[in-house]
Symmetry: C2
Subunit: 562 residues, 2 copies
């Protein structure tokens, strides 16, 4: 087969790269995901473009850096007209369908300005990040107290899932919370999964009704209903993202003896960097620095991942039974990691590989990929490479979109025909919206940080006048020693800044003119051939044949009497 | 009066800053323009954002750098949804009307993708740079040989003007060329204004039928027809832009004795800079390096400017007779200069002040501006400052748009309440579309240059690996000595690069979220107040009152049998 007909783009949320057995976890066995790795290529240096759901996904879907698309934080709308992989693939005759989460916020003001109705086909795609939504579910049903100033209220809640739970008899206003994401004590009290101390409790729900099996089934339902038109299905699961709680039997499968030791050093706690020191003071950091909390959370986190792998087994069996495994590319990915106490941090909003490195496994059924099955690639890959990869798989010509897409296709790696490695990868985080920026009295535009990583070095630049942070990845792969102040590393810091500055000046906004059109036209601008003459003194200066229409013409004298 | 009710934004095309008597020209008297300067503020350090019509205007109209809006060359469409001053002002209840040239290319592909019909109100504004077009006329009626690869065919031609000329009896297919922009020999042959050798000929047209009087009348007609709604009228005249030819009596008013001596040195011809050396080889440069050509062209150029000033006199008298002078802000500006042989160059596509410095005169009828009438300001002003200036005049709150507009309002200067000077101004030029880039075999993205100018220094950075050019503006105001290779100036070059790099990392694409919304929301993200809990171990870690909805809730036990 030339190319895969369909693309099943599966994204997990907040899944660390190192909690899968194919990526080396010694105790968490994920045989179903591992099997896809054995059938495809497993990428070991894949990094995201921002360590937060929204901006990371907006870069993945648009194939553009955050600095280019501007949707820099959760709830920041993606500007109307910004093209996504769905818009690009649809031009090639491939449907692009969403099942699950995007964390995309529609640009309601922009849509209104352009007269786009959210319920029109074009408007709905603008509002759903270029996808046709089979089911949109950002995986969080918010508590009613989320006020108008919450940055979260606008994102889509698990409405359909709650409807499903209520139909199954789970009562209350928000069974997503009370059952799927909470435990229950002996007196019938909800033990909210929002509280980490309850993470070792079984979620008070039948396993088959919990989120991962539910959304996996929805994905299968889409594939069952899909017609002959080639499709990209973005099956986007919320787990193992918080709330960290999982139903039996997954809730008590793992104990401390199965967990990776935290990657951290006492010296890290003493950092004098104001931004990093501020991060360490977050409640989430202080909480995850506690081993008792970490162990309860990881017990649920690992269970959630095990449940995901089991559900992937169900999904992959369905694909085989229906013949889809032969014509469907399968992509397994995550939007960012989870510190889980590494470096004394919780959540993900910084640039250690714990957070910015993600699993990426691609199975290509095409015979052209036979030579690379079961191999790994350590190429520096960015998530903005997926859109151009899918575009090529769908039969597109990269030169039609390389003025918009900032990544590069991974197909040469998948087919073993080349290794289009990049020298530097970039990641960005805008924390202007956070309480930390408020506490530090930073103007939003000064609360931005940029990661520049080569194979051997990682530099973190901060706007706002702070010194950089530097890690020696070759000799300090765990990123425990900040060399940002080291006089011995001034040259390395300068070299990394040169990469950053070259990147910052890149041409990212010429999105209306393909480069190839420029190359064609500039070949055709000989004097006299473009309809105007510039700097020509007289006919004698024109090439033969280009003269006629400019001279010799007769005109009736309409000169005004003087 | 609090603020001006209306704004008359007059732009001339290719008008040098130094060919007006109020800017010091010793022989070219422009009393009508000078009078507006005596009634308002004349800016002596106003620079454009790109030395080419299209990108310069797109920056002026959007209030954003070329690096931000991406319409980097003539004919590069302005991406659909990119907001312009018209879009901003209309929100404030002010009409924005175009009479004349914008050089804007509509993003037809983007409009089609979003289902915007060019003949709909929204579509038409998208296609006309946010203006309602009373008359769109880019001032050039192209010759029929302009092929499909001409970058010029798509821009709007002088269709209505040609219709007007034909109705007046000017015959032929293109009277814009044959009469308004050509002379006539004794045998009745058209002496095409495309040829510089005919620039001293009178254009073969009655003066009142030539372009400047025609379009000035059209502007007056709009103002006559305007209702009570406040309006911005962008009266945008093509002249003194080429073709360089003017009807009697303006064609022979000036001679060599009235022209400024060319600003150039023999040393400049010896430049070893590949890009600048390439520019010097253009036919237009070689032609304008000839004194005979230069003098014929300047004879027409000065006549065209004199004609403009006379027409401004007609326009300003109309404003006085109709009371508009009391409620209308008048802005006089140009989109770039014209080398006219200075530095051995023709046209405008480089960064000497000859090209990037432009006249800017603003008359504000508001009594708040009384203190500054007849004064000058040497603040470093950019054309992206006009959109925020107009927004403030229209009564807008800058904090509603400062995430989109990259300039700053000039109102404090006009009212003498402050001097919001900037330390650095920027200008960009993308020559990837030019034959020079083709000859140099430069990839389009490597054919980009950036000007960084402080009050005392000007650095020109080139992508593509070329060395920078540096001018010492304080000691070499004519920019004759390139210090880009001078070891003694390494520190200055480094300092200027620091400005460029800080600018390149600016946050220009977060166009959907006002900064003030971020500042409001980040104050309201206390734990328990935003609908989610992150990193909270237990209820005891929550502030009082934020706990209730998370605990104490009863649930019916739906746990699946195990």
């Amino acid at each position: 087969m030339a190319n895969a007909k369909n693309i099943l783009f599966i994204m997990f949320d907040q899944l660390r790269w190192d909690y899968l057995s194919c990526y080396g976890h010694p105790h968490l066995q994920t045989p179903n995901i591992d099997r896809i790795a054995s059938m495809g290529v497993r990428f070991t240096n894949a990094r995201i473009q921002s360590p937060l759901c929204g901006p990371s996904r907006m870069s993945t879907y648009t194939g553009r850096y955050v600095h280019s698309h501007g949707a820099a934080w959760n709830g920041y709308p993606l500007r109307v007209g910004e093209m996504t992989m769905g818009d690009h693939l649809r031009k090639l005759g491939m449907d692009a369908v969403l099942v699950g989460k995007t964390h995309m916020q529609a640009d309601a003001e922009g849509m209104q300005r352009l007269g786009l109705e959210p319920d029109s086909i074009i408007g709905a795609r603008q509002a759903e990040c270029g996808f046709d939504a089979f089911e949109r579910d950002d995986g969080l049903a918010f508590e009613s107290n989320a006020g108008p100033n919450s940055p979260f209220v606008e994102t889509h809640s698990a409405a359909k899932y709650n409807t499903y739970l209520k139909a199954k008899g789970y009562d209350g206003e928000n069974p997503w919370h009370d059952y799927a994401n909470s435990g229950l004590d002996d007196d019938g009290n909800v033990l909210s999964g929002w509280f980490l101390k309850y993470s070792d409790q079984p979620a008070n729900i039948a396993e088959e009704d919990s989120e991962t099996p539910y959304m996996t089934r929805r994905g299968i339902e889409f594939i069952e209903q899909a017609g002959d038109t080639p499709w990209l299905c973005h099956l986007s699961l919320i787990k193992p993202h918080w709330p960290y709680i999982v139903p039996a039997p997954y809730h008590d499968m793992y104990g401390p003896e199965h967990m990776l030791a935290p990657v951290r050093s006492d010296a890290e706690k003493q950092t004098d960097h104001p931004v990093l020191a501020g991060l360490l003071q977050w409640m989430v950091s202080r909480t995850f620095a506690r081993d008792d909390v970490r162990e309860k959370v990881l017990q649920a986190y690992m269970g959630l991942i095990k449940q995901i792998d089991d559900q992937m087994g169900v999904l992959f069996k369905f694909l085989e039974d229906t013949g889809r495994m032969e014509d469907t590319m399968i992509v397994l990915n995550s939007d960012h990691g989870d510190y889980m106490g590494d470096h004394w941090l919780g959540e993900k909003m910084f640039f250690h590989d714990t957070s910015v490195k993600v699993p990426l496994i691609i199975y290509d059924p095409s015979s052209k990929a036979d030579a690379t099955r079961g191999t790994t690639s350590d190429a520096l890959v960015e998530m903005i490479d997926l859109a151009p990869t899918f575009y090529e798989v769908a039969g597109g010509d990269a030169s039609d979109v390389d003025h918009i897409l900032e990544g590069q296709s991974l197909v040469p790696i998948l087919h073993g025909t080349g290794n289009p490695d990049r020298e530097v990868s970039f990641c960005e985080y805008d924390f202007g919206h956070t309480p930390q920026a408020e506490a530090m009295k930073l103007a939003p535009n000064d609360a931005r940080m940029f990661m520049v990583a080569t194979r051997d070095w990682k530099l973190i630049h901060f706007e706002g006048g702070f010194r950089p942070i530097l890690f020696d990845l070759a000799n300090d792969p765990n990123e425990l020693v900040d060399l940002g102040k080291s006089p011995d590393h001034a040259e390395h810091i300068e070299a990394m800044y040169a990469h950053l500055h070259a990147w910052a000046l890149r041409n990212s906004q010429r999105v209306t003119v393909p480069t190839k059109r420029i190359l064609l036209r500039r070949k055709n601008m000989e004097i006299g051939k473009v309809g105007i003459l510039i700097g020509v003194n007289g006919p004698e200066d024109l090439p033969p044949g280009a003269v006629d229409q400019y001279i010799g013409r007769k005109a009736v004298d309409k000169r005004a009497p003087t």
